[in-house]
Amino acid sequence: MRFQLGLAAAAALFVGSAGLASAQGAGGYGASGYGGGEYIVDAQVISDEVVGESVGEAVAGSNNVGVAGRAYGRPDLFYNYYTQGNRNRVHAQMYLAPRPVPPNVGHTFTTYQPFMPHEMLYKHTDRYHNYYDGGRGMNRTKARYYYPPVRQAASNFYWNMLRIPR
């Protein structure tokens, strides 16, 4: 709570000292008198609603005043995986609820991709891109998945040396 208060004070200071251009940083979505999804860049109002809900429509908003809108990445928080193919009589999602329940009940919702269980299935390296601040910032996460070496060595020793062949 104290942290939030300090942040608000700093933002107010920033607005007071820097004027119009800083309203973007402090206001975000519509905090400075404009509608939702609009903010101020170079004293012109443009729309933030460039990228659609995951469809990726490249249409600028209705309040566009001659400035080409920027495309901000706004990926889904979670997206399921599905079986593919034309011959399936029924499709399946990969992430169900923690145990298989009827499909109308729900499914698991994992919001941090590197920890998704299906990444633990095999040895590989992946890189993830995560958007923040409404798509204006992006960070990269590199994750390596590998077998724990000690346990793997012990397992190999058991299966190759100690196990009675039968």
Partner: protein
Amino acid sequence: MRFHPFLLTASAAAVTLLAGISTATAAGPFADRWAQRRAQETAWHGAYQNLGYGQPLAVVVPPTAHLRQTYSWGVSQNTNHSIYHQFGRNYPGSGFAPAAGFYHTPAWPSHTDQFGSYYVRGPW
């Protein structure tokens, strides 16, 4: 969901076995294309439904897994099949409604496919 305990252990062992095999021979792009094409022509499920789920149940296996083993009664009934299907990003559209027409597991199962759990490889 009720699993037959023996089948559960057998499938778990099969999964670990498959994972162990497949790490030695990673699937190349040719194998991936082959599997993708075959997956378009075949269904990921068999004719049976998982009784606890009411539909065929997709068991996620590592994407490096190649083969599944089925067990049955009788001579020459234990067979090996490739696992072609893989979970993907494309939304298939329709087909999530509870599908009718899948057989129940018989009271005395005679084949591992009759339990309604079928392997589908996880995404890369």
